[in-house]
């Protein structure tokens, strides 16, 4: 069992509070991501778990064992760094063997484990090369093999994909997820990329200003962001300011929009609308919320068409529609008048800030 528990963990640098009383329980075998903009405290939290940063207060346990005061070399955690951090003077095999050597594993066993670890990341044939002879993606796979070969209790990943190009990132994302699941390894993944977090994690921890903003499954976070910050960070561009009046949403300017469910918030709030829930048509649609506007920008993506429209009230909204295809209806050109519409259940009320 290697459940990781953070109890009221905080980090202060003088008067600056980087992480505020953070409590978190990461289940055995779970992959959780710490997500947030730079400076939100996600990396500091990870480094406190890894032992590179001392917590100012609070307690960190792994499988019931208190590791709070332990140095990194006594925590048995695998750490993968954004910049790979391979030992430049050692071959790939020596890099991977280093942790086993520190554990005094005998040579024959170590050699076998190194080979297995390299085979697992499909780099067995590079064992005798030096790190600088490998590409970034290969180096990061070596770093992964090196962290995994010691059979750590926990795997910590600090922005492991940020230095890779887009297609490699996609590939590595899948690889990390598969390895993590096949090994059943408790993993904490720090990233600033919501897409990375969503596609790899069991649960996501969205952080802001040293605090947890929202915790939930990728599905929950995407579909039910709690705040305007969460909605924006998870890629919802449309936030309509207003407030709840008698069970419906009153936009600034007075237009009332229908809501389904959740109407508890009082005072000013936002109605969050994902671009794909907004439909566009020439006529208003009966039974849905409708706003009229003008197409300002039309971007053709092949599979989808993205419109940026300005409503008559002056709000800018983004809508994404499936591209009509050849022979289908014409896409709307810039300057065209159109109706934006969405079902009452598609809007999510989020708090301010």
């Amino acid at each position: 069992m290697s459940e990781v528990v953070l109890q009221e963990v905080a980090k202060h640098y003088g008067p600056a509070v980087v992480v505020q009383n953070m409590s978190l329980r990461i289940a055995d075998g779970e992959l959780i991501s710490l997500l947030g903009p730079s400076g939100c405290g996600k990396t500091t939290t990870l480094r406190m778990i890894g032992g590179f940063v001392d917590a100012t207060s609070g307690k960190i346990t792994v499988g019931g064992r208190d590791v709070t005061g332990l140095p990194p070399n006594r925590r048995n955690m695998g750490f993968v760094f954004q910049n790979y951090a391979l030992f430049p003077h050692m071959t790939i095999a020596q890099n991977v063997a280093f942790g086993l050597e520190m554990r005094k594993v005998n040579r024959a066993d170590a050699e076998k484990k190194v080979q297995e670890a390299l085979a697992r990341v499909r780099l067995a044939q590079y064992a005798d090369r030096l790190p600088k002879q490998l590409s970034g993606g290969q180096q990061q796979r070596v770093a992964l093999a090196r962290a995994l070969v010691i059979e750590p209790d926990v795997l910590l990943l600090d922005e492991p994909l940020s230095n890779l190009d887009a297609s490699l990132r996609q590939e590595m994302k899948i690889e990390i997820r598969q390895l993590q699941q096949s090994l059943g390894l408790t993993t904490i993944f720090v990233t600033h990329d919501q897409d990375e977090a969503m596609s790899t994690s069991d649960r996501m921890v969205l952080m802001y200003n040293g605090k947890v903003e929202q915790i939930g499954s990728p599905d929950e976070l995407y579909n039910q962001p709690r705040s305007a910050f969460a909605a924006r960070f998870l890629g919802v561009p449309n936030l309509l300011p207003g407030r709840i009046v008698q069970g419906s949403f009153e936009m600034e300017g007075g237009t009332a929009l229908r809501l389904a469910g959740q109407k508890q918030l009082v005072g000013n709030c936002f109605l969050a609308l994902r671009p794909e829930v907004i439909g566009i048509s020439a006529e208003a649609v009966e039974g849905e919320n409708n706003l009229s506007g003008t197409v300002e920008i039309m971007t053709y993506h092949g599979a989808a068409v993205e419109y940026q429209l300005r409503t008559d009230a002056g709000l800018t909204l983004t809508a994404r529609a499936v591209a009509p295809g050849l022979g289908g209806p014409e896409v709307l050109p810039k300057g065209a008048k159109a109706w934006l519409h969405w079902p009452a259940s598609a809007g999510v009320i989020v708090s301010e800030h």
């Binding site: 590179f52 955690m77 910049n83 391979l86 554990r103």
Partner: protein, 271 residues
């Protein structure tokens, strides 16, 4: 038209580079050449060639002993600079403490202060120590080694910090997470990575200590002169090719050191 001007540029560039290289090498070439002249007094043109000056340089005990004293002093000074300089560089590069820039400047100051000023200051300081404690430092080999360590230290620190700055601190953290303690990390990870810097630093420390004249001149005792002081003393009464022979030996020794070092570590990587 543009081809011709590119040609002219290249020609000018080659000429300029050759002149600079010639300017650097010519004195060395002349010294080596003149060390073989058979003229009794150093002059042009050579009347013949001989190896006598080399035997003479070896037979003069001032040169022979001077060489060994210089060599020993520089070796010890380099070791002292290594022992003090490595941790100092580590602290300067990795540490976050008040007054770090000040300490850095302070450690570089022996290079900045004119050697003759530094030498006289050290001399006066040693005299004060002797006055207060009765222990004679000036003129002793301890005093000489201390002064030479000051010559060696800035070179060591400058070159080691330069190569340490280029080390990715994450590799030390990675080693730590893999189970290595601080000493293991230093000897297995950090030191091998900064090795070119350490070797280049040692080399520069050694050479600069070896060729020092100004600081040593205050600090040597009777009958224990360094090689450079022996040269100056000799030049006071003689003007023959012995000094050329001594200089040639020095040039060869330093060149040899550079070549041997370069075989094992690429010195260019240290900068």
């Amino acid at each position: 038209m543009s081809g011709a001007s590119a040609n002219n540029t290249r020609w000018a560039y080659t000429l300029f580079s050759s002149l600079v290289i010639g300017f650097i090498l010519l004195p060395l070439v002349f010294i080596v050449w003149m060390s073989f002249f058979s003229n009794k007094i150093l002059s042009f043109p050579p009347q013949g060639y001989t190896l006598d000056w080399y035997t003479r340089a070896w037979e003069l005990s001032d040169f022979r002993n001077g060489f060994f004293l210089s060599f020993r002093t520089s070796m010890i000074a380099t070791l002292v600079a290594l022992v003090l300089g490595l941790p100092a560089s580590f602290a300067l590069v990795r540490g976050r403490f008040a007054g770090r820039d000040l300490v850095n400047t302070l450690l570089m100051s022996p290079i900045v202060v004119p050697a003759i000023v530094g030498g006289s200051a050290i001399f006066v300081f040693f005299l004060e120590i002797e006055f207060l404690t009765g222990i004679q430092v000036a003129g002793s080999s301890l005093g000489l080694i201390m002064a030479h360590s000051l010559i060696a230290l800035p070179w060591m620190i400058r070159l080691v910090t330069t190569s340490m700055i280029s080390v990715n601190p994450s590799i030390e953290e990675a080693a730590s997470s893999l189970g290595a303690g601080p000493l293991t990390i230093f000897f297995r990870i950090t030191l091998p990575v900064i090795k070119p810097g350490v070797i280049a630093g040692s080399l520069f420390a050694f050479v600069n200590s070896f060729i020092d004249l100004e600081k040593s001149i205050f600090l040597v005792g009777p009958n224990s002169t360094t090689l450079q002081i022996a040269l100056i003393n000799y030049l006071e009464w003689n003007f023959d090719s012995t000094i050329g022979a001594v200089a040639t030996v020095q040039i060869s020794l330093i060149t040899l050191l550079l070549l041997i070092t370069d075989r094992y570590v690429k010195l260019s990587r240290a900068f």
